[in-house]
């Protein structure tokens, strides 16, 4: 679901991170869908070399994916292959959550892992050799001194699936797929006619999904360590028995044929690695689930859920996993007891909490398996409950208690007339005003049921209702809009203070250069110092707010 302001935000983020030219390229792709190089050149009006390097940057950072389309030959002309580029909006938006990703990896695997991931985020994709070089340079040591540590950390990150081998540079879409290529031009106004959910955009994201799938390495390959490290830590192997003739097996076989030393060198020098966003999202999604269970039920239930998520996380197959794999009661007990918080829980307590999580009114766990003695986590339900909660909070803050009551009433009861709403929400006097406030911001809808063919207003019935999908869209777009505004304001503030910030840079530079040997000529007046203080405080507020907004964006868009 890419909303209007979601696309805008993509462009703004690219602008701040990579500058004007790269932004132009992204803008073409984000607003027009997949394009061939020639089309991008035409729309962006960039000269070929700038365009090429801009595209390279985007591909390097997984913001754009290239793919090949085969066109059937016309008449006697041979089939022709062309390359197109699609924007990966989700990945672009991930750029504003890098601080969150770094925090997550530090929590799990410590500072070395954080620094390694930081390098990958900064450069988009790196080989193991480059990673080692970077670490050595940062620590002021030789590569030989750091290589062991780097490899250990690297292996841990791969095992935890935080990093992965890069996908194929230019996968081909099968010819039979090409006829479902999205319409290049969405007719203007079509969006309005279809209501807020753009089906045209949905098709684009579908195509993006297919391309990504075609580009992705095989699951086993994706997390396969370089040959030189093969013994260090076994990557998680898929449970499925692999067909011996399948590709990875064949590749391994070929790899064996190669001189193993050369192969190892290739693996270290040529294979590119990048951050696996999916795994970071999974971790954040799990955290959200646990937090929700803690507020909705209690800390005990949260411990159970957290343990179950940990035990099943590796077997999740999609980023928006609906249900986890089922766990038997024994497996749950074992998982809970192996966590520091749950090690002293009695069997009875665990059973009680599981029953509570699975009870009708809650539905966070679903009974599964024969005899119903296994439980799967219904993550979808938990996330939905959390979203509902967030929406209600927004309605409450934005429109007040009475509006929130009306919103909840309509969400629960379906359609009602104004009079009924006034009575049930105990707001008979101002119900009309409240309803119109909600209507104006598209949190409720009203439908006329005409009893006369002339649609005489006094003879018609007006039914009010909540269209939840439309509300979700509204909330998400407002979130993007707010985030965009925050970014724009920040850029504006920085620009306004350009002069004084330039001075600060100069000061820093002279301080770094001479150890007091050369006394700097630049000093800040007290007014300028105040300006600097102000800008750094504003930056702090805006950055913190942006991260919070992004939590909500994740909740509504990625989970």
């Amino acid at each position: 679901m890419a909303t209007a302001y979601g696309r805008r935000l993509c462009c703004d983020l690219i602008q701040t991170h990579f500058g004007e030219f790269v932004q132009k390229v992204v803008k073409c792709l984000v607003y027009r869908g997949p394009l061939a190089l020639a089309d991008i050149a035409r729309f962006s009006e960039l000269n070929p070399s700038t365009l090429k390097s801009s595209l390279l940057v985007l591909v390097q950072h997984s913001c754009v994916q290239a793919y090949k389309v085969e066109h059937e030959g016309v008449g006697s002309a041979p089939p022709r292959v062309s390359t197109s580029y699609v924007p990966l909006c989700d990945n672009i938006l991930h750029r504003m959550r890098f601080p969150k990703f770094l925090l997550a990896v530090r929590e799990d695997l410590g500072e070395e892992a954080e620094s390694l991931v930081e390098g990958l985020l900064e450069h988009g994709r790196l080989t193991l050799e480059q990673i080692t070089q970077r670490t050595a340079a940062k620590a002021g040591k030789t590569e030989a001194e750091v290589v062991k540590g780097v490899k250990e950390t690297f292996a841990k990150l791969v095992a935890a699936r935080f990093i992965e081998r890069c996908p194929a540079a230019e996968p081909s879409l099968q010819p039979k797929d090409s006829n479902v290529e999205p319409p290049k031009k969405v007719p203007r106004g079509a969006a309005k006619a279809r209501g807020p959910i753009l089906s045209a955009q949905d098709t684009v994201s579908e195509v993006v999904q297919r391309i990504l799938k075609a580009a992705a390495p095989d699951e086993t390959d994706r997390f396969r360590l370089p040959i030189s490290m093969a013994g260090m830590s076994a990557p998680i192997v898929d449970n499925e028995t692999t067909d011996p003739s399948s590709l990875p097996q064949k590749r391994k076989f070929e790899a064996l044929k190669m001189d193993s030393k050369t192969a190892a060198a290739v693996d270290e020098k040529e294979v590119l690695w990048r951050v696996n966003f999916e795994q970071f999202l999974r971790k954040l999604r799990h955290q959200t689930c646990v937090d929700m269970v803690r507020t909705r039920l209690d800390a005990g239930a949260a411990i159970i859920l957290s343990a179950m998520l940990q035990a099943t996380g590796n077997q999740e197959t999609s980023a928006r996993q609906h249900h986890s794999v089922p766990l038997s009661m024994d497996a749950i007990t074992q998982a809970v007891r192996s966590t520091p918080d749950g090690q002293h829980m009695t069997l009875e307590r665990i059973r009680g909490l599981v029953a509570q999580l699975a009870s009708d009114g809650v539905g966070f766990l679903a009974k599964a398996g024969e005899g119903g003695n296994s439980y799967a986590i219904n993550m979808h339900n938990i996330i939905e409950a959390r979203q509902r909660n967030e929406v209600e909070g927004i309605v409450l803050q934005r429109f007040g208690r009475e509006c929130c009551r009306i919103y909840r009433l309509l969400a629960i009861k379906g359609q009602l007339e104004q009079k009924q709403i006034g009575e049930r929400a105990m707001a008979p006097k101002n119900v009309k005003e409240l309803l119109y406030r909600l209507l104006k911001e598209q949190y409720v809808q009203v439908q006329e049921i005409a009893k006369t063919s002339e649609h005489i207003a006094s003879k018609s019935i007006y039914l009010w209702k909540v269209n939840y999908r439309a509300v979700l869209y509204r909330v998400l777009d407002d979130l993007y809009h707010a985030a965009t505004n925050l970014c724009l304001r920040h850029a504006h503030e920085i620009q306004k203070e350009q002069e004084v910030l330039g001075l600060v840079d100069q000061l820093d530079a002279t301080r770094d250069a001479g150890d007091g040997a050369q006394v700097s000529h630049v000093t800040l007046t007290s007014a300028q110092q105040d300006q600097v203080k102000r800008i750094s405080r504003i930056t702090k507020i805006l950055d913190a707010s942006l991260l919070k907004l992004d939590d909500a964006i994740l909740l509504f868009h990625d989970f």
Binding site: D298, E392, P428, R489, L542, S545
Partner: protein
């Protein structure tokens, strides 16, 4: 020999007393077969306002006017009576003057005169309605207006008393917080005993209050628990409250009335936004 007018009148009145719920025409026709005499007697009694006519379904019935009532009605014109009867038929719902006009086929001045007479004698009264405050309805003097007219217990003087509702809500919530779990009757009992209000509140009113508390996310419904059987609807304080803050509404744009008009470089823009100025400079 056929009875005289006087005897017929007496017999008629006797019959009326024997049928306090109304003397049907059918009975009259059987008991007083002399049609000529009967109509004379009826006319006499009606003109003296000793008798009133009603319709019950398709039937016409007669009732004797009691002595003191008869005094009140003495000297009212037939138009006045027509108006009176229309008002009486509307019972505790009351009737609006426009409807009176339609029912009686009288002219507005006639109706106004009749209403003045009837109000002067405390036979009818005007009541303001909650549905339309400028509109008065008329009903018999002794009647208590229906809930539709007054709005029920939450209305004071035809005005919705939001403050009163809030007080009762807070009391209910406090009681549940103290008790942990309570059903509707226990809540109603406690509030009535607390004496915070003189207004008579029924279970229906308490249910309304509880429903709002549920919608506000302050309490939640649960079946049974504690000393209650599993088929009793009970209330307890909600665990998951509606959040008091959200990321979106914590930034100015999230509560901004002109969010949808706000464009970079536009009339309203994030660069020049005054809300941001305040927010960033506190």
């Amino acid at each position: 020999m056929a009875p005289g007018l006087g005897e017929t009148i007496n017999k008629l009145l006797d019959l009326c007393r024997a049928h306090p719920d109304g003397l049907p025409q059918r009975v009259l026709d059987e008991e007083i077969p002399d049609l000529e005499m009967l109509s004379q007697a009826l006319n006499f009694l009606l003109s003296k306002q000793k008798l009133v006519v009603f319709t019950q379904g398709d039937n016409i019935v007669y009732k004797e006017q009691s002595a003191d009532v008869a005094v009140k009605f003495k000297g009212l014109s037939s138009e006045d009576m027509l108006v009176y009867q229309s008002i009486e038929a509307a019972a505790n719902q009351g009737i609006w003057t426009a409807d009176l006009k339609r029912r009686t086929n009288l002219q507005q001045p006639q109706i106004n005169k009749a209403l003045k007479n009837l109000e002067g004698r405390s036979l009818v009264k005007a009541v303001k309605t909650v549905t339309n405050k400028n509109r008065k309805v008329y009903m018999l003097f002794d009647l208590t207006p229906s809930r539709e007219v007054t709005g029920g217990a939450w209305y004071t003087e035809q005005d919705y008393d939001a403050e009163f509702v809030d007080v009762v809500k807070q009391q209910c919530l406090q009681f549940i917080t103290r008790q942990g779990l309570a059903d509707l009757e226990a809540i109603a009992d406690a509030i009535k005993k607390s004496g915070i209000t003189q207004v008579e509140l029924g279970l229906e009113e308490f249910k309304q209050i509880m429903d709002t508390l549920v919608l506000d996310g302050d309490v939640e419904e649960t079946m049974g628990g504690g000393t209650y059987s599993s088929d009793t609807l009970c209330y307890r304080v909600a665990k998951a409250r509606i959040p008091e803050t959200s990321a979106l509404t914590n930034v100015p744009c999230g509560i901004c009335p002109v969010l949808h008009e706000c464009q970079p470089g536009g009339l309203v823009s994030p660069e020049t936004c005054v809300y941001f100025n305040d927010w960033l400079s506190f």
